[in-house]
Amino acid sequence: MATLATLVSSKKLVQIGGGLAKDEQPVRLLYAYPHVIEWLNDTLPALEPFDADGMQSPLEQVDDLFHDFVAGEDFSFYELSHSMEPLEDGVWELKTPDIRLFGWFYKKGIFLAANIDTMERVKKHNLYAGYRDDVVRRRNQLDLDAPKFVTGGYADVL
């Protein structure tokens, strides 16, 4: 079994910094699988807002989300982010207007992003269940110290 630090060292996970300012300190921890990082680098920058009037580009939305998460901001802004059914699986969907992140909380304040996609694709192709099951599958395969995840609502994970 491995710790998060070990998994980062072996490149199975990547820690995300959140673009904090020099006077900010990280108070939550955010990790992602390498294929999520590839998507952030290769796909996200070219995406346009789904709504023509959308004010933030998808890249700006994700930058804002990562920052707010890592900086410990009040996440009630992202009120539509939620734990997916069944709740006992502990799979969470974090949302911006155009982007969906799927993953789980290893411990309170520590999120591991296992998948990422656009809101448009997820809705159009009804990918929710597929992503939820994929998160569980990836988590089961990850050599992470148990317990691998926490369950519950906002107060339990954020």
Binding site: Q25, M55, E60
Partner: protein, 130 residues
């Protein structure tokens, strides 16, 4: 060494300001609903627009102009306090500035991060009227 999203500083500054405005309005809407029971439908009626427009504005799917921001705040019973300040850009600064970002941080390696709630850093605030 952690990964940082590849975004230029101009886009980051614009995106985060837009985000903080939207989040400020969402907080005001949540607070107003708790205190006075005002709904998105009530806000829409006061502004003479469809409820779906209010929903889209708050969810970040519609363009927030200065006018719509002011009108939404008014309908919620809030007023906007705007301030602009010279950017703090001290090279190598890596200190926790209690005066700017007050909060309590505790990190327990077993339980994880324990964070106290606080308002977002924003260049504007919504103050309850009356």
């Amino acid at each position: 060494m952690s990964y940082e999203l590849k975004i230029d500083e101009k886009s980051r500054a614009a995106g985060r300001l837009i985000g903080s405005v939207r989040k400020g309005l969402i907080l005001a809407a949540i607070e107003a609903k708790k205190e006075t029971g005002i709904s998105q439908q009530d806000v829409a009626s006061q502004l003479g627009i469809n409820k779906s427009v209010v929903n889209r504005l708050l969810r970040g799917n519609a363009n927030l102009t200065l006018r719509t921001i002011a009108e939404l705040a008014w309908a919620l019973g809030y007023e906007i306090v705007f301030s602009i300040r010279k950017k703090q850009n001290k090279k190598g600064e890596n200190i926790f500035r209690e005066d700017v970002r007050p909060r309590q941080i505790q990190f327990d390696p077993i339980k994880g991060a324990q964070i106290s709630k606080r308002a977002p850093q924003a260049t504007f605030e919504l103050e309850r009227v009356g």
